[in-house]
C-alpha cells in the first residue's frame, strides 16, 4: 500500500524533503513507517520531539495504516 508522508520543522530539514510517498506492507503501523523512513534517510527519527498525525488527526505510533493515508511527522505545536 502507498502512504504519503509529510515532514515538518527540523525533521524536514534533516530529511532533505518535505514529503514523499512510501510503499508499505498491509497492516503496517506508524511505527513501521518511522523505522522505514529512518533507514531510508539515515536519520534517527526517534531522537526528535515528534508527534504523529494520520489524515490530519493526531495519532500514535501504534495506529494501523491504510492505503492512501497521509501521515504527518510533527513538532509540538508552538503557534500563537
Amino acid at each position: 500500500m502507498e502512504i504519503f508522508v509529510r515532514y515538518f520543522a527540523r525533521l524536514r530539514e534533516q530529511m532533505g524533503v518535505s514529503h514523499e510517498t512510501v510503499e508499505l506492507e498491509e497492516g503496517a503501523t506508524v511505527a513501521t513507517l518511522v523505522e522505514m523512513v529512518s533507514r531510508r534517510h539515515d536519520v534517527d527519527i526517534e531522537s526528535f520531539p515528534l508527534l504523529f498525525s494520520v489524515n490530519c488527526a493526531y495519532s500514535d505510533e501504534s495506529a494501523i495504516l491504510s492505503d492512501g493515508d497521509e501521515v504527518g511527522m510533527l513538532y509540538p505545536a508552538s503557534g500563537g
Binding site: F8, R10, P49, C56, L74, Y75, P76, A77, S78, G80
Partner: protein, 135 residues
C-alpha cells in the same frame, strides 16, 4: 472564521464583523513577534504550518469554543512565513452577549491553539537558530 495566511492584515474589518445587536462584548487578542525570548535576542521568526491540519484543528476549536462559551462570533487569523519583531502573528477575536463569556472564550481558543494546532516556530537570533521543541 478561520484564516491562515502569509500576508499582514488590518484588524478592524474582522473585529467589526463580530459586532451585532446582541453582542455586548467583543474581545480581541493580538499576538506579536517579541524579543528577547529565554535570554536570546530574536531577530526574525519563521512560522511553518501543516496547513490542512491546522485549518481543521482551528475549525474544530472554533466549534468547541462557540458551544462551551456561547460565543456568537469567532475570528482567528494566523500568519505563517517569515516575520520580524513586532509583526502580528495571530489575531483571536470573539464576541458574546456579555464580557465574561467573551474573555473566557478568547483565552480558551488562544491556549488550545498553542497546544493543539500544528504550527511550528523557528527563532532566528544573531548567532543561532532553533525550532521550538528543540530547547
Amino acid at each position: 472564521m478561520i484564516i491562515i495566511q502569509e500576508e499582514d492584515f488590518a484588524f478592524e474589518p474582522y473585529v467589526e464583523r463580530l459586532r451585532s445587536e446582541t453582542t455586548g462584548a467583543t474581545v480581541m487578542f493580538i499576538g506579536s513577534v517579541k524579543t528577547p525570548v529565554d535570554g536570546v535576542d530574536v531577530e526574525v521568526l519563521e512560522l511553518e504550518a501543516y496547513r490542512e491540519m491546522a485549518q481543521r484543528q482551528l475549525e474544530s476549536l472554533e466549534a468547541r469554543a462557540r458551544e462551551k462559551f456561547g460565543l456568537e462570533g469567532v475570528v482567528v487569523v494566523h500568519r505563517i512565513g517569515t516575520l520580524k519583531v513586532k509583526e502580528t502573528i495571530v489575531l483571536v477575536a470573539v464576541s458574546a452577549y456579555e464580557r465574561d463569556r467573551a474573555f473566557a472564550g478568547a483565552r480558551y481558543i488562544l491556549e488550545k491553539l498553542k497546544s493543539e494546532v500544528p504550527i511550528f516556530k523557528k527563532e532566528h537570533a544573531k548567532d543561532t537558530t532553533y525550532w521550538h521543541g528543540d530547547r
